[in-house]
Amino acid sequence: MKLAPLAALAAFSLLVTACASRPDETPVVEETRDDEVVTDNRPAGPVPGSLDDFEQNAGDRVFFGLDRYDLDGASRETLRRQAAWLGQYPNARILIAGNADERGTREYNLALGARRANSVRDFLVSQGVDASRISTVSYGKERPSCMQSTEACWAQNRNGITVITSGAVS
């Protein structure tokens, strides 16, 4: 029961970083407007050390099973990349937000979100990130990434999201 969504999550966790708010929609070509293509002369890929760099190359979030806050293999992989990135940019400070799906009561989900945020925090600290650079918050079920009433959407909302709050390259 618990393994199926975890496996599915591992599969689309990369996809999510590209389209966090609407995961069910595959990126479509017409979203790229002509004028942007013409005027954008920057080199391909995000600026190293930027927020985009963190999100795309480290991955800004990990996912949890139903009512769980332990990290699976894919999540630990993502967090190792986050730790490496943070090691490269030692001025960066982070906020870890723990989130829960909407299929639980409000206060219980605030507690669960705190557990998830702390799981992420503890792992990053174990990977050498200084605890003083990290703060945590639980949003419970109040800040869903995905708004649809589907299991796939709820699975995405059971997460820990790492946000660079300062020290990123702009």
Binding site: T105, E107, M147
Partner: protein, 452 residues
């Protein structure tokens, strides 16, 4: 005779409830007589209160309208259609023509008068009559400033309710809830709203610059606690509704709590001077008592799991709470000092959100089983069987009426683009399901005690 029979039936139902309530020992299942049949609502004729001048006449009609709505929405009364009335009341100090009121099947008759005294104060007098026995059941007068006419109508309603049911009323009360919406950039907003129990006079208590969740009312005065996100994490706040003053109960610098974690929904001791709440330290949540006068903090539970949603018994001697110490959330009971912790829910599913009834006998809870959520009540000692009052797609945050007869709860209805939240009420028998008149998406109701 019919009046007496109906009244007896009504009181019989109440008595059955009380009997179910007082049967504490574990001899068989919870008494379910209450749920086995709805009692016919009690027919009452509510006339427009009379007045000497146009303004008083208008206020009199408004008061009758508010009283009618109150009594009707309680589910225990059936106001008779005013169009059927035969006698036109012109003087409330004369005996009504009882036969006229019996003819329209009114077992009780309410007549009243509105006037303004030399100081400009509003005087509302009324008489409640038994049309069968042809006797006065109640005669009272309330006085206030004219702007308070609605509150006087609620006090009239409470007096009638109390006289006819033998229970205290709940109409002169307020409800605080969370209004859910979106800000200009699509960000979620959660703002506290206060309104009269019947939905009148709504106003915001908080702005959209921070989320506000999980309000709880003091049982003794106009204070609430709630969870605020203004400190960059969930933090228990005390909000004095009379002064508007707010204060964080924990700011992470409190010596007794290290780690700067979140503090969740704080519930009042029945004395109104102490609180109990769940406080986080490095992900784990324990329960703490907090004295509002001495600011002393006392740790009550201490285990590696999450203890949340504490609620005092009305005698202040026990605390019920939710904990996942057995793996998934279940309900527990302990003494107010934290001793003798024991589990009281053993049914299938996940149990959260316990709220102790002001009558003391029952604990309301939310049960989640598969994809179904239920609002239920169980005996406070965990004996007997639970009684489910409502179930559906999503249910959360029960809140009792001050007389313990009605429960408010958050109900979520499925929609493809996100659950739609609203607040509903249901009585202790599982009857009289009604939507609370709120504007927009609403959740997390808290019910005030009777106002002074």
């Amino acid at each position: 005779m019919r009046f007496l029979a109906r009244l007896a039936a009504l009181l019989g139902m109440i008595t059955a409830l009380a009997a179910a309530a007082s049967a504490q020992s574990g001899d068989g299942p919870l008494v379910v007589t209450v749920t086995e049949g709805n009692v016919d609502p009690f027919p009452i004729a509510i006339t427009d209160f009379i007045g000497e001048d146009a303004e008083s006449v208008e206020t009199g009609a408004d008061i009758a309208r508010v009283v009618t709505n109150n009594l009707e929405s309680s589910g225990l009364f059936a106001p008779v259609d005013q169009d059927a009335f035969i006698e036109d009341i012109s003087n409330i100090d004369l005996r009504p023509r009882f036969a006229d009121w019996r003819l329209v099947n009114a077992s009780a008759l309410l007549v009243g008068r509105v006037s303004v005294d030399e100081q400009g104060r509003l005087l509302v007098a009324f008489r409640l009559w038994d049309t069968a026995a042809e006797q006065q059941l109640l005669g009272m007068q309330f006085t206030s400033v004219p702007e308070n006419w609605r509150r006087l109508a609620h006090k009239v309603s409470d007096a009638i309710y109390e006289r006819l049911t033998g229970e205290s009323g709940f109409f002169d009360t307020r409800i605080v809830y969370v209004s859910e919406g979106e800000g200009p950039e699509g960000e979620p907003t959660r703002r506290l709203v206060i309104m009269d129990q019947d939905g009148a006079n709504p106003s915001f208590l908080t702005d959209r610059s921070y989320m506000a969740l999980l309000p709880n009312y003091s049982p003794t005065n106009q204070q609430i606690t709630y969870v605020s996100f203004r400190d960059l994490q969930a933090t228990s706040y005390l909000y004095d509704l009379q002064t508007g003053r707010q204060e964080a109960l924990f700011d992470g610098s409190n010596a007794a709590i290290t780690g700067g974690g979140q503090s969740l929904s704080a519930r009042f001791h029945p004395n109104g001077r102490e609180l109990v709440m769940s406080v986080e330290r490095r992900g784990r949540h324990d329960l703490y008592g907090f004295d509002l006068r001495t600011r002393a903090l006392r740790q009550l539970t201490n285990n590696p799991s999450d203890d949340t949603e504490p609620t005092y018994s009305p005698d202040g001697e026990q605390i019920a709470f939710a904990s996942n110490r057995s793996g998934q959330p279940q309900l527990y009971l302990m003494n107010a000092d934290g001793s003798e912790q024991r589990r009281i829910s053993f049914g299938e599913g996940r149990y959260t959100s316990p709220v102790w009834s002001p009558r003391g006998d029952l604990i309301a809870f939310i049960k989640q089983q598969g994809s179904m959520f239920s609002l239920g009540v169980m005996r406070a000692d965990g004996s007997g069987e639970e009684r489910i009052l409502y179930d559906g797609y999503f249910v959360d945050t029960p809140a009792w009426s001050p007389n313990g007869r009605i429960l408010l709860f958050t109900r979520g209805d499925y929609s493809a683009n996100g659950t739609r939240y609203s607040i509903w009420s249901v009585d202790l028998g599982g009857f009289n399901l009604r939507r609370l008149p709120t504007q927009g998406a609403a959740s997390d109701a808290a019910w005030s005690p009777l106002l002074d």
